[in-house]
């Protein structure tokens, strides 16, 4: 029975990592798009748009959620359901907080007239950061599903499911780091 799980779980892990490779290529293409169109941006330029404060706050939320999901994983390894529940809840909350700040950020931009169609720099900013936000949102939904299943399915398979999720969540975090480094930082420092 244990080998049964290991074989199939191994398949899933590899499959999911490959899926993330595909996603990485997608994001890389969007980064390239951003680099190309940010160069000649006028009216507005990135420096006129970006605001350090919101980026820092949202980053704190999202990056620390990589830690909490890690603890949830550790808890799953020793089959500590209570620990899982706590850390998973913390991750959901951090994810929601990130989304809250990001929605606030987009709304502020919008009210300042920095809309999707204002210029191509903004367009490429929104389609990149927006796709990332969609990933965060999807991840939050995924965690809620995990939470539903936490007590109703065998703990070994629950652990497997959560492991796959944490790959996803770490990936979303890594993309965010790239966004900080390549999208925001050059125009905030």
């Amino acid at each position: 029975m244990t080998t049964y799980n290991q074989d199939l779980q191994g398949d899933k892990k590899l499959g999911f990592v490959l899926y993330l490779v595909g996603e990485l290529v997608m994001f890389a293409t969007l980064f390239a798009t951003f680099f190309i169109f940010v160069q000649d941006a006028i009216d507005p330029t990135p420096t006129e748009v970006f605001e350090a404060r919101t980026v820092i706050i949202s980053s704190v939320f999202l990056l620390s959620s990589s830690g909490t999901i890690h603890f949830a994983e550790k808890a799953a390894e020793i089959q500590n359901r209570k620990g899982i529940a706590i850390w998973l809840a913390a991750t959901v909350l951090l994810g929601l907080a990130f989304m809250g700040v990001e929605i606030h950020e987009f709304r502020t931009y919008y009210h300042e007239g920095f809309t999707l169609t204002q210029n191509i720099f903004l367009s490429s900013f929104y389609i990149l950061v927006g796709l990332h936000a969609a990933h965060v949102l999807f991840g939050i939904g995924w965690m809620l599903l995990l939470a539903i299943q936490l007590n109703s399915i065998p703990s070994s398979i629950y652990g497997d499911k959560q492991k796959i999720f944490s790959y996803y969540w770490h990936f979303v975090d890594v993309i965010w780091i790239f966004i900080i480094v390549f999208v925001y930082a050059p125009y905030l420092i």
Binding site: D11, V25, M26, I36, S123, I127, I148
Partner: protein, 642 residues
């Protein structure tokens, strides 16, 4: 005729009305025939299956269907071009643009791709000693997403909104400023949805090949079709996401008012880069599997191990790598500068080297072999010279300076048909004849098969050889007519004749399938005296093909067993857990959901977009709560507790 739907007006030309009538009649006839023959259970079986062989058959069946549609389009195009200043039916001007656009799009994405992915599904698990694909459920999802996308592109014609910017969808023509009608939206969503299916299929292939090989089958003992599948899958995994994003960005341009690819700020050249960064690897995605099929077939029918196996693998890998470094050869005339053009000209020419190695290896495999020209081998033999000609024109095109002359002429059209039909389509035919016994337990009729081959091959050369000269005489591609003074009439006329010969050849193929089911010739497990593992399992391949997992000790294990072990494969002492297949309506439901979701976008119906978007998300919930792994784990647990 004018109809009102979704608040839009639909104008119907006579050809569209004709098509509707045909479609309706065919559907009614189909339903009657299926009911009369009491075949509904079979339809249901295939609609809910997750088994690799059946899914492979579904891919092949859809590919054949779309081949006929796009083939008819080709004939229409050829009729329109048969004479100077011709006016065939309604197929001039914009209608012609639509015809060549859907012809190319369907042929690449919905014929070449599914033919190969279908054959991979049928053969690869069996060739490597796996019980099924690694993720049977995902496999079904891939297929139904593919079909949903294919149906979208195909139905556009019936909605009088065919895409019309070429299969390359060049901007700014493809932006809403120049083509506001829904046609190119059908392209965007159709290719997007099926592309996601293709990416998932590639992941499935990689995991299957990496983790489900029989014990003892090291990578360097693996047959070449699985090898080419593995490399192709990596190409898909890297190239298709670029297309996904290209279409995503174009969608923003067309739906949400951005202007990435047009306007004073936007950059149409960027579309070309994105498209060809995907597009050139794509042409290798559709040729490498064919190389793999031919390698296996040539080896079997020459009764010899494939010559230079190691160099074959290395050549595949190098072609795969170089395939990502040549995309600008489609853009030599853009004016990116001498240095850029030179670089990409050189990398392009380099590809001819590994390709040449493969050609010579095939020839050396045949040399001093005991050759039998059964139908699959005939196709392989026809492939070699045909493909070499396509390669030669490829190298000619790769000389950047000369390409300024060739570019966008019929010379290019001739080139890519030589490689795609000469390679991919002949390869797919060969593979279908070769593995038909594993799919259905019967062989296709050999006489009809040979007739099919000769008609198709001769028709092919008559069609496309003259196009080289039409191109050299200056005939641009994608024009709906020419004048008598253009000096291209004879070439076009001959080409049209050849096209009809190919059409007859294809009809013989379809007839052959029908005949072979009517008067089935039972195939044994090993009709071709094969060498690789698929010939050690029953025909058709059962749900769990390998009763005992074989222990692989050499190349061509079945052949080795015939020589040294009275045909008995050694049994492995241990085997891994088989994937869990299920019977489920979910994949086909997801496909339908995605189809209607896309339609809601294409026709800008916001409430439907929201509803169906939620439904698609709901699908993930249903899937997560009903997956077979959890069910199995629960059962096991209940079992343990007893």
């Amino acid at each position: 005729m004018i109809a009102d739907l979704f608040g839009r007006k639909f104008y119907m030309a006579s050809d569209t009305i004709g098509a509707w009538v045909m479609l309706t009649l065919t559907a009614i006839l189909g339903i009657i025939l299926i009911t009369r023959a009491k075949k509904w259970p079979i339809i249901r079986e295939y609609a809910t299956t997750t088994h690799h062989r059946k899914i492979g058959v579904l891919y092949l069946l859809s590919a054949t269907l779309f081949f006929m549609r796009a083939g008819i389009e080709a004939l229409i195009i050829r009729i329109q071009l048969a004479f100077p200043d011709n006016n065939f039916w309604v197929f001039q001007g914009e209608k012609f643009n639509e015809a060549f656009t859907t012809h190319g799009t369907i042929m690449i994405f919905f014929v070449a791709m599914p033919l190969l992915i279908g054959l991979m599904n049928v053969a690869v698990p069996l060739q490597i000693g796996a019980q099924d694909m690694a993720f049977p459920y995902l496999n079904a999802v891939s297929f139904w997403l593919f079909l949903a996308g294919a149906l979208l592109v195909n139905m556009s014609f019936f909605m009088t909104a065919s895409p019309n910017a070429g299969w390359t969808l060049y901007a700014p023509l493809s932006t809403d400023t120049y083509t506001p009608s829904a046609g190119n939206d059908y392209y965007i969503f159709g290719i997007q949805v099926s592309g996601i299916g293709t990416i998932l299929a590639a992941i499935n292939m990689i995991v299957t090949i990496v983790r489900h090989r029989a014990p003892g089958m090291t990578l360097m003992k693996m047959p070449l079709f699985p090898w080419s599948t593995l490399i192709t899958s990596f190409l898909i995994l890297i190239a298709f996401p670029v297309l996904t994003i290209a279409l995503y960005i174009l969608m923003f341009d067309r739906f949400f008012g951005t202007s990435f690819f047009s306007g004073p700020e936007g950059d149409p050249i960027y579309w070309q880069h994105l498209f060809w960064i995907f597009g050139h690897p794509e042409v290798y995605i559709i040729i490498l599997p064919a190389f793999g099929i031919f390698s296996d077939i040539i080896s079997t029918f020459s009764k010899k191990r494939v010559f230079g196996y190691g160099s074959m693998v290395v050549a595949l890998a190098i072609i795969g790598l170089l395939g990502f470094m040549v995309w600008v050869h489609h853009m030599f005339t853009v004016g990116l500068g001498a240095l850029v053009n030179t670089f990409f000209a050189v990398t392009t020419m380099l590809i001819a080297v590994p390709t040449g190695i493969k050609i010579f290896n095939w020839l050396f495999t045949m040399r001093k072999g005991v050759i039998r020209f059964s139908t699959p081998m005939l196709f392989a033999a026809g492939f070699i010279p045909t493909f070499v000609m396509g390669g030669v024109t490829g190298v000619m095109l790769s000389a950047a300076a000369a390409d300024l002359q060739y570019h966008d002429t019929y010379f290019v059209v001739a080139h890519f048909h030589y490689v795609i039909i000469g390679g991919t389509v002949l390869g797919a035919f060969a593979g279908i004849y070769y593995w038909f016994p594993k799919m259905f337990g019967i062989t296709l009729n050999e006489t009809l098969g040979k007739l099919h081959f000769w008609l198709f091959l001769i028709g092919f050369h008559i069609t496309f050889f003259p196009q080289h000269f039409a191109g050299l005489n200056g005939m641009p591609r994608r024009v709906y007519t020419y004048t008598a003074e253009d000096n291209v009439f004879v070439f076009n006329f001959v080409s049209t004749l050849g096209a009809f010969l190919m059409g007859i050849g294809t009809a013989v193929f379809v007839w052959n399938i029908y005949k072979s089911f009517k008067k089935p010739q039972k195939a044994g497990d090993d009709p071709w005296n094969g060498r690789t593992l698929e010939w050690s399992v029953p025909s058709p391949a059962p749900e769990h093909p390998f009763e005992n997992t074989p222990q692989v000790v050499s190349h061509d294990p079945v052949w080795e067993a015939k020589l040294h072990r009275d045909g008995e494969l050694p049994k492995a002492s241990e085997s891994r857990t088989a994937p869990i297949d299920v019977v489920s309506w979910q994949p086909v439901m997801l496909g339908s959901l995605m189809l209607f979701f896309s339609l809601a976008f294409i026709y800008h119906v916001t409430w439907l977009q929201v509803t169906l978007g939620i439904a698609v998300l709901g699908f993930f919930v249903v899937r997560a709560l009903t997956d077979e792994h959890t069910k199995k784990a629960k059962e096991d647990q209940a079992h343990d507790n007893v």
